[in-house]
């Protein structure tokens, strides 16, 4: 059968896997979340967007068949994006939060001459990155976390910020970092700095001035034509 004519249902071979210690039977076109629900197991946490892969709630540790060698590391993944494979061993990862909260007031970092110097003050461990790559291996989105940390810790916020475009705040990089750097929150700090200090669209500002001056108003009673102009 050609690839084109292949039915989605024809791909779903049945496989067996272990999820939180339970033996499940699942189809290879089902995600791990789907397999869990299909097995009749209760799902009241570790879930959010259910397949879009954007909320970072469904973190799992996955060991694949043949990875039983001692010391062999398991992989982290998002359960709603990971399809079932034969012999997988899966466990949910409990919610991870930063080991130490890092308070800062974004609006108090308003001076763009000094704001970027403050990054290592707020994240004092960031310059201690030992380049172990643990964060990169942990990230289910393939983000260059280590590189972001390096750039951010020397104040290169504009280079660092876009590396975290796809971050879903699953916090797996926080759990992976032996230096307690909290890359996920560091990534947010640089992204937020870049926007709040250096995004000033002229069209938006012009419209805000008009609203302030009272020249942009809404006539609530207006006669509105049925068809758009």
């Amino acid at each position: 059968m050609s690839r084109e004519g292949d039915e989605p249902d024809a791909r779903g071979a049945r496989v067996r896997l272990r999820f939180e210690g339970q033996e499940l039977e699942a189809r290879t076109d089902a995600s791990l979340v789907q397999a869990w629900l299909d097995a009749g197991l209760p799902l009241v946490e570790n879930v959010g967007c259910m397949g879009q892969g954007v909320c970072g709630a469904c973190r799992v540790l996955v060991r694949r068949e043949g990875e039983h060698a001692p010391g062999e590391s398991v992989q982290t993944a998002l359960a709603c994006e990971t399809r079932c494979e034969h012999g997988m061993e899966v466990t949910f990862v409990d919610p991870i939060s930063a080991r130490r909260p890092r308070p800062y007031d974004l609006r108090a970092l308003g001076d763009s001459w000094t704001a970027f110097d403050r990054i290592p003050e707020i994240f004092p461990e960031a310059p201690h990155c030992r380049h172990c790559g643990g964060c990169d291996r942990a990230c289910p989105k393939g983000i260059e976390v280590e590189r972001m940390v390096g750039l951010a810790s020397v104040g290169r916020a504009f280079d660092a910020a876009p590396l975290f475009d796809e971050c879903v705040m699953c916090n797996l990089c926080i759990a992976a970092c032996p230096e307690h750097i909290d890359p996920a929150h560091l990534g947010q700090l640089v992204r937020r700095l870049v926007a709040s200090l250096a995004l000033r669209p002229a069209d938006l500002m012009a419209r805000l001035r008009e609203i302030e001056a009272g020249t942009q108003t809404v006539d609530v009673e207006a006669e509105i034509p049925e068809e758009a102009p």
């Binding site: 039915e7 959010g48 709630a57 974004l106 475009d165 609203i211 809404v218 509105i224």
Partner: protein, 541 residues
């Protein structure tokens, strides 16, 4: 629904006739919508018999939750631990986070209770963008008229005016919190222009975005801001089960379920904001949904038992193109961007059947007609849909998939389809609750000290929502409700706090001959294998 054309046969028909004709036969749009849009399915609707909306039509699945008993009894709360706060926010999605930030900045102590984790809701899933009239060729008045017109003239005009008037300030506020937006290519972040797109039903390009991840960017920023905001505490895994009232019947907080400890936890609050989002996971009429796992209309059920007025309960938005297969991904959104780029919809006979860029309710109704009349594409698994012809689009505009439809490619990959070679199977998916809890421009409901904002609130969109207005709503009305609630919370409270309103509710239910054994809110989808009653007894024992 009829069986449809087997997928192999449909693929042959599609190959033989591609590319599909550039024109489509004219349609009587009104008749089509009346006949095929789910909102007009009289069999799926019931008339409410108790409560403030008695007499109104409402989908049966939602009515079952509105006209239900409470999982909480007087005796259950007697021994439960309780805490005090100024403002309680129920639901930590976009609207809840915005309200919490603004309430705290107005001086209130704030507690945000979430069913899942802070931020895990519909907001993070939004792809397209947010509307705000910033263009020189645009105006607040145009945005207002587009909103009211798209809503079939059913919106509360004062709310719609408040929405659009807040638009530019909402974008400024979001930038201040650290959210990025795309700028027009070739212009600069300082002094440049925001990138704008025009969406169906809008008379100007007004949709602002960050690529196709606008909601992800917004929710990341809001969650981080809430986490760092002094005066706000977030409680994850604490769904609200019932609202509390004081001696005068004003809302006085809520009964939460502490999921980890499996016990009730009471919060007494000077003002309560319901921000629980939408209802897609009720799967009305068996429809798949684009919504997150917790979208089960909880806030509607809670507010209704307390007597809050609801509106447009019979009006939902069905997005025309959700994935139809495989089962595990069914309902996930295939963004309108594909059709905007020129992808056509093709039925099981290889024919085009609708102008793909007609309003969403029209396109959805047209697809449902194809499915109902046997021209859908059927997989061996029993999934039914129509083709979204991405291969022809790619052939006409080489590179378009890779360059402009990144999220679509990602989704197709997980569905096991190469979108450059095979069309995607799509069908309408339950997407948005147009109506909800009636509010005034400050987010106040008809119940004293109870506020609502975000998707759970009603009146802003009338009977149909313009794409991009939901993200604007959650910022505009989240801010309004947060500030108003912080002020309201300072007013003195009266008398003992409890669930006295439940006895009136039970009397009304009995008088209407309705059973009291079914409880709401539902909290999780029916396939979530969760039994609240069992969880509660287990915890108490």
């Amino acid at each position: 629904m009829s069986a449809g054309v087997p997928r192999e046969v449909a693929l042959d028909a599609w190959r033989a006739r591609r590319p599909a004709s550039p024109t489509t036969a004219p349609l009587d749009r009104d008749a089509l919508v009346r006949r095929f849009h789910p909102d007009h399915d009289a069999n799926a609707m019931v008339t409410l018999r108790v409560g403030s909306a008695a007499g109104a039509r409402c989908p049966a699945e939602l009515a079952a939750l509105l006209q239900a008993g409470s999982p909480v009894r007087d005796v259950d709360i007697a021994g439960a631990p309780h805490r005090e706060t100024d403002v309680l926010v129920i639901g930590g999605g976009g609207a809840g986070c915005v309200a919490a930030l603004e309430a705290a900045r107005a001086g209130a102590r704030v507690l945000v209770a979430s069913k899942l984790r802070l931020g895990d809701g519909n907001t993070v899933m939004a792809e397209g963008g947010i509307q705000a009239a910033v263009g020189e060729d645009d105006s607040l008045q145009r945005h207002f008229e587009d909103t009211v017109r798209a809503g079939r003239f059913a919106a509360d005009r004062v709310l719609a005016a408040a929405l659009v008037s807040d638009g530019p300030a909402a974008i400024r506020w979001l930038i201040g919190e650290g959210m990025s937006f795309d700028v027009e290519p070739g212009t600069h972040r300082m002094g440049g222009r925001l990138r704008r797109a025009r969406v169906g039903g809008a008379s100007a390009a007004r949709l602002l975005s960050l690529r196709d991840q606008t909601g992800l960017e917004m929710m990341r920023v809001l969650r981080e801001a809430v986490r760092l905001q002094p005066g706000v505490e977030a409680l994850d895994g604490h769904p609200a089960l019932e609202l509390l009232t004081d001696a005068r019947g004003a809302c006085a907080g809520a009964v939460l379920f502490d999921r980890e400890r499996r016990r009730l936890a009471l919060v007494h609050a000077g003002a309560t904001i319901v921000a629980t989002g939408g209802a897609g996971r009720l799967h009305l009429r068996g429809f798949p949904t684009s919504n997150h796992y917790g979208a089960t209309a909880d806030g509607l059920a809670l507010a209704y038992r307390l007597g809050a007025a609801l509106r447009e309960l019979d009006s939902f938005q069905y997005h025309p193109t959700g994935l139809a297969a495989p089962a595990g991904l069914a309902g996930l959104l295939v963004s309108e961007a594909a059709r905007a780029a020129g992808a056509r919809l093709v039925n099981g006979c290889g024919e085009r059947f609708v102008d793909e860029l007609a309003p969403r309710d029209v396109v959805a109704a047209a697809i449902l007609r194809e499915l109902e009349e046997g021209r859908g594409v059927a997989t061996r698994d029993g999934a039914l849909g129509v083709f979204l012809d991405t291969p022809s689009l790619e052939a006409e505009t080489p590179g378009v998939l890779r360059d402009r439809l990144v999220t679509l490619c990602h989704l197709a990959d997980r569905a096991g389809v190469d979108p450059a070679r095979e069309p995607l199977l799509v069908r309408p998916t339950l997407h948005y609750q147009n109506g909800g809890v009636a509010i005034d421009p400050t987010g106040r409901t008809s119940v004293s000290r109870l506020f609502a904002c975000g998707e759970v609130a009603g009146g802003i969109h009338g009977r149909n929502r313009l794409m991009g207005n939901a993200l604007l709503e959650l910022v505009a009305f989240g801010r309004r409700a947060g500030v108003a609630a912080a002020h309201e919370a300072r007013a003195p409270r009266s008398g003992p706090i409890g669930v006295a309103h439940l006895s009136d509710w039970q009397r009304a239910m009995i008088a209407a001959g309705l059973p009291l054994d079914a409880c709401s809110p539902q909290l999780f989808p029916s396939y979530g294998n969760f039994d609240l009653a069992a969880a509660l007894t287990e915890g108490v024992a």
